[in-house]
């Protein structure tokens, strides 16, 4: 044992000199590892250089200005300048290279959406042909670290020219994630589609909006003028959110909001709640209640209560959107009550081949309106839409869809073929 201990101590103290035959492989390993590490380091350095050059090849154009935070760091700024693409306009939705320093507020960023359509149906007295869809400009501008402005203007072709409309004009103050207060003209958060896609045809899978929330429609109030508070509700994995709004409600033409003022001196209000469960990433479920008093004609007064619910699974494999709304009207003069309800279910699937550019879809929609309902002036609907979306690029799509609709008992089925190219710029 003594001999063993002695030998071990000697060996540990003079490992390099004693037992040279045994130590030799260790030295060889060490050298090999060192050489490999040195080579790895070189390769990593080279890779980093190549990666730094990559954005010029295929990435969206970064901003022209350097980071505000980097301005006092010459090295950083130099790196940013060196690795930047040539200056140019960038889409507001793409990454920018700069947080505007306080002195540069406001910092306006513009983006746009447009679509061109072709339609052919077997409906009597309806012509087939091309039509220019909507040309939409969207502006977003931070006015300070906590105040932002958002605007949306649409240009829609009419028989005599173009109809220009301020679709949204919102100024928002962010206190924190739990409370954000805004004023302006909104798309009413009474429905998922209305606030998810707005006027961006390219954003929605299909060519058409569901009938229950179509622009110019009367079933649900598409626009809302007033104020809105929104934010997250501390709720752990449930990820709850809310919005609460007070505004003018429907105008005298009930398909329009009360932009110039409240027609009946009675504010509408709405509350909506939603959840994006952490465990079911991609799922959003929610519902809302909207209350108003409407005066569609002289002497006519109705209480309106709209309750709605939705489910949206947006992962695209599959994509599921489903919404339901009940529009309750009670005549203040007679006490009569009318309920109109509508729903749609839309399914789509992003196919895995050809770079995931194809997305077939199907939507079923239904509207049931009592024939004696005196306010809405709409027809019922039983409709199916089937189509295919092909993404030509990351920012443009081609869509083709077939629709079959029936407006009510005794009405004929109408078949239609619709084509669209929609894009953002």
């Amino acid at each position: 044992m003594r001999r063993f201990s002695f030998a071990l101590i000697v060996l540990l103290c003079a490992a390099g000199t004693t037992g040279a035959q045994s130590a030799a492989p260790v030295d060889e390993h060490t050298e090999t590892i060192k050489t490999l590490l040195a080579r790895l380091e070189k390769v990593e350095k080279r890779l980093a250089e190549l990666e730094a050059r990559q954005p010029a090849a295929g990435a969206p154009a970064p901003a022209a200005e350097p980071f505000a935070g980097a301005q006092d760091k010459p090295g950083t700024q130099a790196a940013a300048v060196e690795k930047r693409e040539p200056a140019g306009m960038t889409h507001a939705g793409m990454g920018q290279g700069a947080e505007p320093p306080p002195s540069t507020f406001p910092s306006l960023k513009l983006s746009g959406f447009a679509d061109i359509n072709f339609s052919a149906t077997d409906e009597k007295n309806v012509n087939s042909g091309f039509n220019l869809g909507q040309f939409v400009l969207h502006a977003a501008s931070p006015l300070s670290r906590k105040v932002s402005y958002f605007g949306e203007i649409s240009f829609t072709a009419t028989a005599t020219g173009y109809n220009v409309d301020v679709e949204r004009s919102i100024i928002r103050y962010d206190y924190n994630d739990h409370f954000k207060l805004s004023f302006g003209r909104y798309h009413t958060p009474v429905n998922y589609w209305n606030t998810a896609f707005h006027h961006g045809s390219w954003l929605q899978t299909t060519i058409s909006r569901p009938e229950m929330i179509k622009f110019g429609g009367r079933l649900l109030p598409v626009h809302f003028i007033g104020l809105q508070a929104e934010g997250d509700i501390p709720s752990g994995g449930a990820n709850l959110g809310y919005s609460f709004g007070v505004g003018n409600g429907r105008g005298s033409i009930i398909s329009r909001g009360g932009d110039p003022g409240d027609v009946n001196n009675n504010r509408a209000w709405l509350v909506s709640l939603y959840s994006r469960p952490a465990r079911l990433y991609g799922l959003q479920i929610g519902g809302s209640v909207y209350r108003d008093k409407i005066t569609p004609g002289p002497g006519q007064r109705f209480n309106e209560l709209i309750s709605s619910a939705y489910l949206a699974w947006t992962r695209e494999t599959p994509e599921i959107l489903a919404e339901f709304a009940n529009v309750h009207h009670s005549d203040v003069n007679t006490g009569r009550v009318f309920n109109t309800h509508a729903f749609y279910v839309q399914l789509a699937y992003r196919l895995p081949f050809t770079e995931k550019r194809w997305k077939p879809y199907y939507r079923f929609e239904y509207i049931n309106r009592p024939t004696t309902e005196p306010v809405l002036g709409i027809t019922g609907l039983l409709g199916s839409t089937a189509g295919m979306r092909y993404d030509i690029s990351d920012y443009a799509a081609l869509k083709a869809e077939y629709r079959n609709t029936k407006r009510g008992p005794g009405q004929p089925h109408i078949n239609g073929l619709f084509l669209q190219t929609s894009f953002t710029f």
């Binding site: 045994s22 954005p55 901003a63 939705g93 793409m94 990454g95 959406f113």
Partner: protein, 176 residues
Amino acid sequence: MTRTHKMRPAKASGTQTTRFSLALLCGILTAAFLAPLAAQTAKEGAVAIVVNANTPVSNLTLAEVRKIFRGEKQYWSTDLPVVLLVRAPVARERDIVLKVIYQMTEAQFRQYWIAKIFRAESVSAPKLVYSTDMANQLVSTLPGAISFIDARQIGSGLKVLRVDGKLPGETGYPLR
């Protein structure tokens, strides 16, 4: 003879002990060299979530990381907005983050941010950074900044966040 006979086994035993010691030494030295290498290998491929040192957070769940990188959580506190820095394409770290955090393709990621701004949910998209050095410098400089960096290339002055209680290199770390 007897003495000689006794000496031979003792010599053989000494040789065996020496061999054993040498083998032990080799083992110790090899372990000494391989331990750092093993640690390096464990970090290899891992992407660290880093924040500015003054950010009041040190541990997030993957769901919380996802919420921040999706722009759903925009404030660390009332006075400290989240400044989201995302590596520009094409970078391995970006691929991992798109796959694990966003669970999106490059095209879906772009569409996601265009839609988010269009919905007035965010005023701008994440800021792009073009290299690890740039990410290191900006995160250490900008209050509220958060980004992701190759775990082997984390600069000084950054705080590395635990994700689901794990640091890069630890078993079960999700971003790799």
